[in-house]
Amino acid sequence: MSAREPQITILCCRYCGHIPMELAGIERAQYPASVKVVELPCTGGVSVLHLLKALEGGADGVLVTSCPDGNCHHLSGNKRATLRSLRRETSSKRQAWRRRGSGSCRSESDTPRRLPASFAT
């Protein structure tokens, strides 16, 4: 096996997170098979447990994609998700999760190309 592809788990919301993934599919945009997508009603519902379980299960990174600021379908779930993943990032350093990362990004329902781009970073 050559260079191992990083295993990425995406936790996305049903609205601005998942819709661009569907659009990316329609546009035949390519992304690695090692990326797994889990859809939630809102990223406000992404708990620290989900982030840690994904990493425990072997993911190299977790990406939380949510609606743009001020545009969350559930009013403020995106802000809460960002706060929570930041909190996890700081606690993860203590727990020696150092080599693996997590991040969050904002997507919009009409920007499918932004998603593959965010894997690259």
Partner: protein, 443 residues
């Protein structure tokens, strides 16, 4: 069936329109107005930019509402509490300042039309130079003068309008600029009429930008053709009012020229922003509905559940909901009244597909869910709890829950579950984390 009666809070243009329509539709209406007279902000308006006379419109509405057998007027009164839900609301109404004479009204739906307020602060000293040869008015005050005693204005040799005057102009206010949507078209129209009535008069309009919505753009063109001067300034350097040998002038840096100009202003007219009423928070708390980040009453979701508040059966409209021109106030009032009627006429409630529920045995009453819920659904104590639910534990009303799962993720005791995507579905089934075992990717 919900109670076949509606409560309308606010007797301005929006409230009167909604009340008259609901009563015509056969619903008993309680109209509660804080002032002793009906009319609200609209009593200060003259003509709309479309040329419609607001005083005539108001007179017609007041006579319709005043004489309607289905409308009970509660003047000089306010709603101090609105409780209950799902079409079984009870409103406590009492006279302003006298809590002794409380009345309890049972209604099936509520239309909230409590209105907005004009900005009255002293932004960049523009209001501070009254007297002398200068007069400073707001757009609303100018409208009243044009309506009631236009001859006073004939003395002004020069008139300068300043657009978008609001709390954002005050130093260190921390408030960001918001368009009030109706002032530009009124300002441009009034500027043109002041210029056309006295062509020798200098009329200038100082703006950060002009937003004459839709076909009102033609008003802008017409004003320019009539000879009104438009001067754009940098919002970071708003115009200053100065006195030069007794004559007032506005000193402003023209954005196009990059140079400082002194604009003569015998009369300065401020397009003051439309803001939430200073007591909007108290109103919202009394009615049990939420305020948005801008301080106006929040609607559920502007695109799909517009004008519905987060409380079932409570609808918002008019300036209480956000700044807007008269024509939109009228349309919104009808929309809110339709919403209220539909709510009253519906005898069943559809429970959303996904709702969060609290496991009382695991709940430690830490009230994290009460704090984090973006919709304010989890509540402790109060009415409408299922039989036997402990008073000390929060309860999530399954009709109002939006199923976002925020409380599920935040609950430290993991006592809350969201039906379709709880830990069972996401973690135990391996959706998050577990799937790697079969792919070989993790080895």
């Amino acid at each position: 069936m919900p109670e076949p009666a509606a409560l309308v809070v606010g007797g301005g243009l929006a409230g009167l329109t909604a009340a008259a329509w609901l009563a015509d539709a056969g619903i008993d209406v309680h109209l509660v107005e804080r002032e002793a007279v009906l009319g609200g902000n609209a009593a200060r308006l003259g003509k709309t930019p479309e040329g419609r006379s607001v005083p005539e419109l108001l007179e017609d509405l007041v006579s319709r509402v005043g004489g309607h057998p289905r409308i009970a007027l509660h003047l000089s009164s306010e709603v101090v509490r609105l409780a209950g839900f799902r079409g079984e609301l009870s409103a406590v109404v009492c006279p302003v300042g006298g809590a002794s004479a409380e009345r309890v009204l049972r209604v099936g739906a509520t239309v909230v039309a409590t209105g907005g307020a004009e900005y009255r602060g002293r932004a960049h000293g523009l209001g501070g130079l009254e007297g002398g040869s200068s007069r400073v008015l707001t757009l609303l005050e100018l409208g009243q003068l044009l309506r009631d005693e236009p001859e006073i204005l004939s003395e002004a040799q020069s008139v300068a309008f300043v657009g978008c005057v609001g709390p954002w102009d005050e130093p260190n206010s921390g408030v960001s600029w918001r368009c009030s949507r109706a002032c530009c078209e009124t300002m441009v129209r009034q500027a043109r009429s002041l210029k056309e009535s006295h062509p020798g008069r200098m009329v200038s309009v100082l703006v950060r930008e002009v937003n004459t919505y839709g076909f009102r753009e033609e008003e802008y063109t017409a004003a320019r053709k009539a000879g009104v001067l438009f001067i754009r300034f940098d919002p970071a350097h708003p115009p200053r009012l100065e006195l030069d040998e007794g004559r007032a002038r506005l000193v402003v840096t023209d954005l196009a020229l990059g140079e400082s100009l002194a604009v003569p202003a015998d009369l300065t007219v401020l397009a003051a922003a439309m803001l939430p009423r200073p007591d909007a928070a108290r109103t919202a708390a009394a009615l049990g509905i939420a305020l948005g980040e801008d301080g106006f009453l929040r609607e559920w979701e502007p695109k799909t559940r517009g004008l519905a508040s987060l409380e079932p059966g409570v609808f918002v409209c008019g300036l209480a909901h956000g700044p807007k021109p008269v024509r939109e106030v009228l349309t919104q009032a009808l929309a809110a009244a339709h919403g209220a009627l539909a709510h009253i006429a519906t005898d069943r409630t559809v429970r959303p597909e996904e709702v969060a529920s609290i496991d009382v045995k695991r709940c430690a009453s830490c009230l994290t869910c009460v704090r984090v819920c973006p919709y304010g659904v989890p509540r402790v104590g109060g009415d409408g709890f299922p039989q036997g639910w402990p008073r000390s534990r929060p309860h999530i009303d399954e009709v109002r829950c939006q199923g976002c799962g925020t409380c599920v993720a935040e609950c430290p005791a993991r006592a809350i579950a969201l039906e379709s995507c709880g830990d069972e579905q996401l973690v135990a089934s391996g959706a998050v984390g577990g799937w790697l075992a079969g792919t070989g990717g993790a080895s």
